[in-house]
Structure formats: structure tokens, C-alpha cells
């Protein structure tokens, strides 16, 4: 079982929907420890991605489509999440090259490169109360699932479940990066909005894979 371009387009459609549905909730999380516009910014970015995907060029590959997501997010989201998520998609796209079909190992390569991109740009590590707290457990779980012979969809499901747990794990943490770092101890008890939105994106990836694998 492999994933192809239709998985990417479904993933994008699902992400657009889930970001729109969670716009206010993400901004509310951001208002608690940041400036309250995370949902707004992501919604603007993915709405722009959807417009681009409505006219996806002929001959697109999963990699080229994800690169389009990357450049669109970088040029529409702003703030810190635009460059961070944009870099994640960009590095993920580069890891795929021009492959038309992705097996479990390719999915792991995509997620690993995406995570490494966020680390490179944001210079954060696990425990800093950032989106890395969702991405790194997701990569670890995906790697383990692929090693045990899981299908691409099962690899993504493992990644999504781990990201959800990772997002929840940011609640007791003191933020050390981004605007929330200025809160000190007062960020404790609040979930990081970037980790939460990353987990939503990975859930969408898993659901899209399950749908396209049939």
C-alpha cells in the first residue's frame, strides 16, 4: 500500500477544514500565552493554500504539491508560525524528491525532514513548549511503526496519536521560545497553540491516508 498525490490533496482539504473549524479555539489558546491570533493566521494561510490547490498544475507530485503548501504558508501566514510550518512543509517536500508514490519509509522521511526544518528555523527543542513537542514524538512514533512493518496510513496514525499526546504534554511546561517565553511560570497550565495546530495537521494526514487507502 502506498500513498500518492491524491493523499496530499485530501490531506490539504482536511487541514483546511480542521483549521477553519478550530480557528477560534487555537486563537483562544494563543490568547492565554501569546497574542491571540494563531487560529486567524493559520486559517488565512490554509485558505490561500486551498485556492492554489484548486488549480494544481498538471504533473504535480506529492513533493511539488507540498512545496506549494510551503511557499503559500510562508507568504501568507506571517508571525512565527508561517516560517516555521512553511519550512516544515518545504523540507518535507524536499525529502520526497519527485517520487509519485510514498511507502512507509518515505512517510517517515517526510515527517523527519519536516521536524528537522522546524528545529533548524526555530532553534527549539523538546520541552521548550513549542510545536516541536508535537513533532518530535510524532517522528519517533512513525519511525517505530515503520520499523515494525506498518502501512503508510498506520505510520501516520501513530504519528498523529503521538502528536496529540505531545501537544497535551506542553501544558505543564514553562515556555522558553517565542512570545510565550515572556510569561515565565505563568505559561504553566496552558497548552501551546503551535503544538496543538501541528497535532491537528498530523491527524488530518492520518485521516486522509486512511481514506485514500480505502
Amino acid at each position: 500500500m502506498t500513498l500518492d498525490l491524491s493523499w496530499v490533496t485530501t490531506w490539504v482539504d482536511d487541514t483546511v477544514a480542521v483549521v477553519s473549524d478550530n480557528r477560534l479555539r487555537l486563537s483562544e489558546l494563543d490568547r492565554e500565552i501569546g497574542d491571540g491570533d494563531h487560529g486567524e493566521n493559520l486559517d488565512r494561510g490554509f485558505a490561500a493554500v486551498k485556492a492554489k490547490f484548486d488549480a494544481l498544475p498538471e504533473g504535480s507530485t506529492p513533493g511539488s504539491a507540498l512545496k506549494l503548501v510551503a511557499t503559500t504558508l510562508i507568504s501568507t501566514v506571517g508571525g512565527a508560525s508561517g516560517p516555521l510550518l512553511g519550512t516544515a512543509y518545504l523540507k518535507g517536500a524536499q525529502a520526497l524528491g519527485d517520487a509519485a508514490e510514498l511507502d512507509a519509509d518515505a512517510v517517515v522521511a517526510l515527517l523527519t525532514a519536516a521536524r528537522d526544518g522546524v528545529v533548524l528555523r526555530g532553534k527549539a527543542e523538546v520541552g521548550d513548549k513549542t510545536m516541536i513537542d508535537a513533532w518530535t514524538p510524532a517522528v519517533d512514533a512513525a519511525t517505530a511503526a515503520a520499523a515494525s512493518g506498518a502501512s503508510p496510513a498506520a505510520v501516520l496514525r501513530a504519528a498523529a496519536d503521538a502528536a496529540v499526546e505531545g501537544a497535551a504534554s506542553t501544558e505543564p511546561l514553562v515556555a522558553r521560545k517565542g512570545r510565550a517565553s515572556y510569561l515565565g511560570d505563568r505559561a504553566v497550565g496552558h497548552r501551546d497553540p503551535g503544538a496543538e495546530s501541528s497535532s491537528l495537521i498530523l491527524i488530518a494526514a492520518a485521516e486522509a491516508a486512511e481514506a485514500t487507502e480505502g
Binding site: 497574542d35 491571540g36 491570533d37 507568504s75 501568507t76 508571525g79 508561517g82 512570545r179 517565553s181 515572556y182
Partner: protein, 333 residues
């Protein structure tokens, strides 16, 4: 929420459009990608200076575009940094062949987007040097945080860098002046009440009637502590003490004393703050040789002020005094 707006989605575009109409003698507005540049365009052989960041801090930055200060300003959405595209467009538009200085406030989003834009402009053949402003003493500067924020001191950095560019300094020299200005500038702010972001429709944070937040950034992010409201003099002492200790400033220093309103505090209160700050400096033998009071780096209608002290040497004084003609800072011309 009561605001004079048409639609939260069009606040920035309509505001910048109005700014361009009101100051057509000074600036030209590019609507898409959105940036504000000097009316005269790039000057051949002269360093361009671009700054920018989230909207909601007016007159920062567009109010400082003009002779002797910025070449262009890039407004992002309210409290959100602009994306790289408009920054690149502004950079290319103001390059006169001598390169462009980016003046960036130290907020993660601003730094990441300007960094990306600088790479892209470089790929287009325009040399860009970036100076990060981080004048806020309220937050710790450490490897484990995003570091000190760039706040009201940005006006001082933009003014002296603009003057250096105007007199014909090359890019490295302009960047060196900006870096020096940042290194001698310290700021700390207080909030009495939050502003309201148009698309959120409610205050960014809530303070009780008798509460104030010491050490806020320009979006109201906290820095030090939440305390009970006190008389103005006592609050000023809480702000200026850490500022003077930080550099440190000492007897005999000449300084710029800058009291900045955050948008919702009237000048009558700002001058009460200035009075006490000037008293404290005088008691310590620090000479206030230049001053500035008013709303220059705001946080929508947040109630509060920041105090900035910048240590002046002969060069910085000369650059501060140099003629400037912008919508919000204008003298000597």
C-alpha cells in the same frame, strides 16, 4: 468593542491607504504587496533602510518613513509580523545600489520573516544587513528564551541609522551606528489596561481595576510582575531603576530621555511620568540632553507608558539632531 472600523479584515489596508493619502507629500503606498516607501523613491548610491512589523504600533513604522529616517516600512497584520514577500518588495524598491539595512525588533516572528526576506533579497542581488533591536530590560536575555524584546528604543535606532544613511555612510557604517544605538538604549514599560485587537474583539489580557503589569512588551506580553496600582512616581521608580542598573548608566552620562505612550494614556499622564523620570536622573547626576514625549510606539489603545533611556555620545547626538521629515517626527528642515 467600539472601534472606528469597517471590517476587521480590512483594518490594516484601509489604515495604510489613509496614511498614504494624508501624507502624499512624503510617502507612496504600494497596496500589494503592502509597504510604504518614500515619495522620492530610491536614491542612487545611498543606503536604504527598511523596518516593519505587526500593525497596531502606529506611528511605528510608517510614521517614520521620510527624509533622514526610514526608506520604507512594511506593516504586517495587527500584532503579526509581515511575511517575507512585502519585505523583499520594499527592500528591492529602496535599494539605490548601496545595499539595504533591515531594522528588526526582536520578536520571533519578525526575526524569522525578515531573515527569510534578507536571504531572498540577497538572491536578487541586493546586499542586506540586519540589526536586531532588543532594548527591553524587563525580560531576561538568555540562550533559553527568545531574548529581550525590541520596543520603543526602535525609534532611536531608526532615527540615528536614517541620519547616517542620509549623510552618505556606507551600509556597514550605517549598520554599525544602528548597532551602537541599540547597545546604549534601555527601555521598560507598564500597562494599566490592554488594548483590543480588532479581529479578536476583546482585550488581549485583563487587569483588575487596581492592577498594573510591570515590564510589558508592545503587545502587552508580561515581563516582570503584576502589582497593585500605585501613584505615578512610585511606578516610574519601578521602571527606571532596572533601566539605570542594566547598562549601567552613571553620573556624568548624557542621555536621551524618551517617555512613550502606549496609545490609551493621555499626554497629561505622560508628562507626569517624564517629570519623575527626569528627577531621578538628575538625582543621579545623569544629564538629560535630549528628550521625547508622546505616542510613538503604541499597542493599539493600551493604557500605559514605556520609559527609554539612551546614552548619547557626540556622534549619536549629532545624528539624533540631524534634520528629519516624516509624518510623525519632524525637525530641522
Amino acid at each position: 468593542m467600539k472601534k472606528l472600523i469597517n471590517d476587521p479584515k480590512t483594518v490594516v489596508d484601509e489604515s495604510v491607504e489613509g496614511f498614504g493619502l494624508a501624507h502624499a507629500d512624503l510617502v507612496r503606498v504600494s497596496p500589494d504587496p503592502l509597504f510604504v516607501a518614500r515619495a522620492g523613491g530610491a536614491t542612487t548610491g545611498r543606503v536604504g533602510i527598511v523596518s516593519g512589523g505587526g500593525s497596531g504600533h502606529e506611528p511605528l513604522h510608517a510614521g517614520f518613513v521620510g527624509h533622514g529616517m526610514l526608506s520604507a516600512a512594511v506593516p504586517g497584520p495587527v500584532f503579526t509580523s509581515p511575511t517575507p514577500d512585502p519585505i523583499v518588495a520594499a527592500t528591492l524598491a529602496v535599494d539605490g545600489g548601496a545595499g539595504v539595512l533591515h531594522i528588526v525588533k526582536n520578536y520571533t516572528g519578525d526575526v524569522l520573516n525578515f531573515e527569510t526576506a534578507a536571504d531572498l533579497a540577497d538572491a536578487e542581488g541586493v546586499r542586506v544587513v540586519s540589526v536586531i533591536v532588543d532594548d527591553d530590560v524587563a525580560v531576561k536575555d538568555s540562550l533559553f528564551t527568545a531574548g529581550r524584546r525590541g520596543v520603543a528604543g526602535t525609534v532611536f535606532v531608526e532615527k540615528v541609522a536614517g541620519a547616517a544613511a542620509e549623510r552618505g555612510d556606507d551600509l556597514d557604517a550605517v549598520a554599525a551606528v544602528a548597532t551602537k544605538a541599540n547597545s546604549v538604549t534601555r527601555t521598560m514599560g507598564v500597562a494599566l489596561q490592554a488594548g483590543i485587537v480588532p479581529h479578536a474583539g476583546e482585550p488581549s489580557f485583563v487587569l483588575a481595576d487596581d492592577e498594573i503589569e510591570i515590564g510589558i512588551g508592545i503587545h502587552g506580553e508580561p515581563g516582570r510582575e503584576r502589582v497593585t496600582l500605585e501613584p505615578a512616581d512610585r511606578i516610574v521608580d519601578r521602571l527606571i531603576g532596572p533601566i539605570l542598573d542594566d547598562l549601567p548608566f552613571s553620573s556624568g552620562d548624557q542621555v536621551l530621555l524618551f517617555v512613550n505612550g502606549m496609545g490609551g494614556t493621555p499626554l497629561v499622564e505622560q508628562y507626569i511620568v517624564y517629570r519623575r523620570a527626569a528627577q531621578v536622573l538628575a538625582e543621579k547626576g545623569i544629564e538629560v540632553s535630549r528628550s521625547l514625549v508622546g505616542n510613538y510606539v503604541t499597542s493599539l489603545e493600551m493604557q500605559g507608558v514605556s520609559i527609554t533611556v539612551a546614552k548619547l555620545d557626540a556622534e549619536l547626538t549629532e545624528l539624533w539632531d540631524a534634520p528629519v521629515e516624516t509624518a510623525s517626527l519632524r525637525w530641522g528642515r
